[in-house]
Amino acid sequence: MVISLTSTLINAHYNIPRSLYHFKKRERLWEPALIIGVVLLMVFSLGPLYMSLLNTMYDQYDAAGMRQLFLAGPFLIANLFGLIMGVFLMISTFFFGDDMSVLIPLPLKSTEVLMSKFLVVLMDLMVISIAVILPAYILYGIRSGAGISYWIFMAIIFLLSQVLPIMLSAIIVLPLSRLFRFKRYRDSIVYLISALVIIGSLVFVSLTSRVDPNMSAEEFARIFSSEDAILNKTAGAYPPTILVTKALSKPFLEGLLWLLAFIGLHAAALGIFLFFGHKFYYSVYSSLQENFAKRSKLKEGEIAGLMGLQQTKFSALYKREWWYFLKVPAFAFNGFGNVLVFPILLVIAAVAGQTDQLGQMLDQFQQYKPLFVPVGALVAAVAGGINGLASSMFSREGDLIRELKALPVDVNEIVKVKFLHIETLSLIGPAFGAVALSLILGLSFLEALVVFVVGALTLTFLNILQMIIDSIKPILEWENPQRAMKQNVNVALSIPVVFGYVGGLGYLAFLLKDTISGTVMTIILTAIALVGIVVTWPILIKRANRLFARDL
């Protein structure tokens, strides 16, 4: 039953039947070609850099006689990413998918539905493990001349590598959601709990793995006394990392025992997951469907007050954008989260850096002072440019794009409204970014202002580019709002655009640091952004008009 249900859900989730239909009809072949092209581009452009980084890390660990520690990092990072990305995905898939109204009336156990949905989310998250764990573990296996048992254990660990993050978040979120019986804003509360789970995990990991700068020399020496002690210290915050590292680095029998412990942990987590699922899943889902309604009688003349204000078409549509953004938790959390998280990380790095090695690293940056403003502006642009808002400009409308299309509003007006909304939100990024960079690098007010302005202009250009990507082929057929943002191919395509632009110009600035002054670089960056805006804006308008002329 679970297999049949899972295959149906996967078909629906990835739109496989429709893709096969188009493939058989030889239609839209450019879509898979484009995705494969971008993946290959990423692999061939970033792959060598990534592999060289992994090789260097391996060499360092090997030289220090702590080779097994090389295995800990990728697993920990992949699980942390899995937790961050998976929790919202899990919530959306488990509780807010339209398929639930079809599944619940069927004679299925809640645990069967839960397991199938879990496997769908797992498939999505395996991308992280493919990118982070697989290359590192293959490299380790080859370079350490590992035997056959390593490869078998590694395959098992790889396949299970994203299971715990989803189960852990589900185990926390399921009972908590049942506990909070907020009548209004129930869906927002569920997302808030998830955000708190992520923040809590991040704080826990950073606190438990951080070395106290006031630690005595003896304590410090004790930590570094053995490989296991370091492993326990660095991976102690997330014990499965220890099990994985030992399973893959110890001799066969001992490794097997560690692997069995790792599998046992998963079995225990699965047991708790299914127990909570059986106890809470359908009741949480059902309570999320209950809407809060007052049904209060309209008082005499009240409607005149409620409808007593006329706005322009532009203002009305702009308000609509905000309503839609704020009232769909998946959009609001992703949108705000992404513009705030990056600068906050910068500030945390800066504050933490005052006491340990990071501080010394930041001190070394002072030799690149002339690059602070131009590169800072690029960093500030990234802070607001990776929120997925611009690259899901039309995708976020979903079905409602038909409502827009039926209204007597010019497409140019719609584009301007959406542009203003995206800019308003995105500019939080450069603003916070400029503040964070001032704190880290000690920029003057004027320098920070220039970082903000140039960052904002660069961001505007990048936003327009991302909007063009989404207006070419928005993802409009979705039931789960996450599909419009986190699982949107346009968002994925825009990431290399943003990083390519910022990384390319940043690298160029670094190469030319002795030839061109920081001021000239800043002027050039501004000019590129301005010319970019002027050139790409008409393209955006044209693409949007073409989109609205299509059958929607």
Binding site: K25, I303, Q310, A316, E403
Partner: protein, 252 residues
Amino acid sequence: MIEIRDLTKIYSGSVKAVDSISLTVNKGEIFGFLGPNGAGKTTTIKMIVGLLQPTSGSISVDDIDVVAHPVEAKSKIGYVADEPLVMDKITGVQYLNLISDVFQVPPKTRAERASKLLQNFKLSDAIKDPVSTYSHGMKQKLSLIAALIHNPDLWILDEPIVGLDPESAFILKQMMRNHVKAGNTVFFSTHVMEVAERICDRIGIINKGKLEFVGTVEELRKLRGKGSLEELFLEVTGSETENGDFAYLDAD
């Protein structure tokens, strides 16, 4: 009011949903658009309101070409889709304000019209609640109110009776009659033959994308013989349902 000439719509390069239809809907009439499922009714309506692009042919509303001047044409239309297309998360009154703003309805007019429409459709008590709390029928009513609040000359209603309670359906039919009495036009699709027979001035029957008949019910009777509109409809659309044997459903 509506002028359709040689209108064709081909989906995905091969499926001909609407096949070269020509039709005139006059001012001051209720025009019922009938046809079996998948006949091309909704596709035709979506082309009139600008949601779909015609593959060929032309449509004009009040002499305004829908494809060339979509904004002007849309501002003449009050459209209710077959499935209510309303943003779920906002309240009913917020939605009505949005539509009123887009159609630039002055505050006094919108409040007066909304007040009466809400009373007629018995939606006053729910109007301050989010649309997500509404039943399908209530969403349909809200869509109707939103389509009528700006007092459009032309109502285009795709299956407007579906989902409405009997009282609201009755009120809507009355409103349709009043609207055309004032010299305006109603174009609507329906599967309910009784409704079409009772209130339509003229009907059009579309089947497999082709317009099989346009005229009054009396003209159809003259052409096809006596019978209820339902029987005539089945005959025009070539249905063999009357001779169907459904005993297999209850067989052991």
